[in-house]
Symmetry: C2
Subunit: 254 residues, 2 copies
C-alpha cells in the first residue's frame, strides 16, 4: 500500500434536501460526512473497517464533539479533513476540520474511538493491529483549536422530555441504532421556533451503550449555567424493563 | 447556456452509514439521490429551482414510483440517470434509471412533477417558463420499463398502525415535511424481522398535501391482493383538529 499523507481530505456537497428550514446543512448530516471521512481515511491507510472486519474487529465511536462558526449552505462544496492525533492501546483520537472551497473554516471536530472484538464486544489493543500501523499516521502539529469533550454531569432531576420508539431506518449494519440518529433525535428536542432564534455552536456526544431496534429511547434534558447550554441524557428500555443509559450530550447554542 | 444532452447522469456512492442492517442502501437514501439528480439535471438545463426561485415558482413532486431488482450495497458506486419524458401544461414526467459501474441496472423510477407559484401555492403553466424551454429536453426513446403509478384505493377500514410527531429534522427549506421523510416513516411500519425475510420490490408515493413541523402524522395500512402488497395512507392532524390526507403509498415486497 502506497504511503499516504497523514491528513485525509474528502469533498462533500451540502445537498439541498439535507438542509434545514434556514437552508443550512443539518448537524446530523454533517456528522454523517465526518464519519464517512473517518471511514475513508482509515480504510485507505489499512486500519479501517474493511481490514478490521477480516480480523473480526471494528471501530466504535466513543465520543464526538463538533464546534461550528457557521454551517455550509445548500449547494456549498466543502471538505472534511481528518487525521489521527493520538493512538493509545484502547483509545484513538481523531480530529476534523471542515473547510469551504475558498478556505473558509466552518468548524472543527474531535472524536475518540475504541476498537472492539466483534464476538466478545470487548475492547482490544489498537496498537496490535498490523504491528501498530496507525502510529505511522499520528499527526500532532496540525491544529484543531476546540476543547476536548468533557464528562457531562447530569443530576437525577433532569426533565424527561420525550420517549420515542426505534424502527428499521434507525438501525445500521451492526444491528445498532445508528450514531447519527441519536444526534438527530437529540436536536429534535428543540422546535423550529427555537432554531429560528438560535444556532448550534457546539455539540458533544458520548456513547455509553448500544441500543437496538425495538428499544424505546427516553430523553432527559437539563440546563447548564446559561439558558442556551444544555445537557441531554438518552436512556433505553425494552418491554417495560429498567432504563439503561445509552448516551450523554451537551448542546450549546448561540 | 450550453445545450446539454437530454439525459443527465449523476454519480453516487452507497455510503456505509446510509445502509440498512443487511448492508444495502436504504430506499429513503436512494430516493434522496434521485431527487438530487432531478435537481441537478433541471438546474443545469435552466428550468431548476435556482432559476424558478427567481421568478417565484418551484417544482413540487406529485408522484414517485421506484422499482428495484436489487439495491446497491455499501461502498458500491452507482449512477442515477434522469430525463424528462413528457412536459404538459400542469405536469411533467421524469424518469430515472439506477445503474452500477459495470452497467448492472439496479432499477428504475418514474415521477410526476407540478409547478406552483410560491405565493399562491397554486399550479402554474410549466410551458410558460422560459418560452417552453423544457420541451427542448423531452426524451421519449430511452426506455424506463416500469409501470406508472396508479391511484391507490383505500377503504375506510384500513388499520391505524401508528401516529408520530414531526420535528425540526423533518422539515425542509420550504418549511414542509421533507418528501424523503415520508418514505422513511412508511417503511418503518415494518420491523427488522420483516425485512430479514422480505425486500422492497416496488414503492409508490403520491403526495396529496403538505404537512408542517408540529403536525401529527397518522399511518393507516391495508393489504392488497397478496400478503406482501400493501397500501398506506398518511393523514395529518394538528391540535386535535380533523385529520387531512397527506399522501398515499403502495409497498410491494418480494
Amino acid at each position: 500500500m502506497e504511503k499516504l499523507s497523514k491528513i485525509g481530505r474528502y469533498d462533500f456537497l451540502a445537498e439541498p434536501f439535507h438542509c434545514d428550514f434556514s437552508n443550512h446543512l443539518f448537524m446530523g448530516h454533517l456528522g454523517n460526512h465526518m464519519l464517512n471521512a473517518a471511514d475513508f481515511h482509515s480504510n485507505e491507510r489499512g486500519y479501517g473497517m474493511n481490514y478490521l472486519n477480516e480480523v473480526n474487529r471494528t471501530w466504535v465511536l466513543s465520543r464526538l464533539a463538533i464546534e461550528m462558526v457557521d454551517m455550509p449552505k445548500a449547494y456549498d462544496r466543502f471538505s472534511v479533513e481528518t487525521w489521527i492525533d493520538s493512538a493509545m492501546k484502547f483509545f484513538t483520537g481523531r480530529n476534523f476540520k471542515i473547510v469551504g472551497e475558498s478556505g473558509h473554516v466552518y468548524g472543527y471536530g474531535k472524536s475518540v474511538w475504541a476498537m472492539i472484538d466483534l464476538n466478545t464486544r470487548q475492547p482490544v489493543d489498537i496498537l496490535a493491529v498490523r504491528d501498530g500501523l496507525i502510529n505511522e499516521y499520528v499527526e500532532t502539529e496540525y491544529t484543531c483549536p476546540i476543547e476536548k469533550s468533557s464528562r457531562v454531569k447530569m443530576s437525577a432531576e433532569a426533565d424527561p422530555i420525550r420517549s420515542i420508539d426505534t424502527y428499521y431506518n434507525d438501525v445500521d449494519v451492526n444491528g445498532h441504532i445508528n450514531s447519527v440518529k441519536y444526534i438527530e433525535h437529540v436536536l429534535d428536542l428543540w422546535d423550529l421556533a427555537w432554531y429560528k432564534r438560535h444556532t448550534i455552536k457546539r455539540f458533544e456526544i458520548a456513547y455509553v451503550a448500544e441500543s437496538h431496534q425495538g428499544d424505546c429511547l427516553h430523553f432527559y434534558r437539563e440546563q447548564r449555567d446559561t439558558d442556551i447550554d444544555f445537557n441531554v441524557r438518552i436512556a433505553k428500555s425494552n418491554g417495560g424493563g429498567e432504563e439503561a443509559e445509552v448516551c450523554r450530550c451537551r448542546v450549546l447554542f448561540v
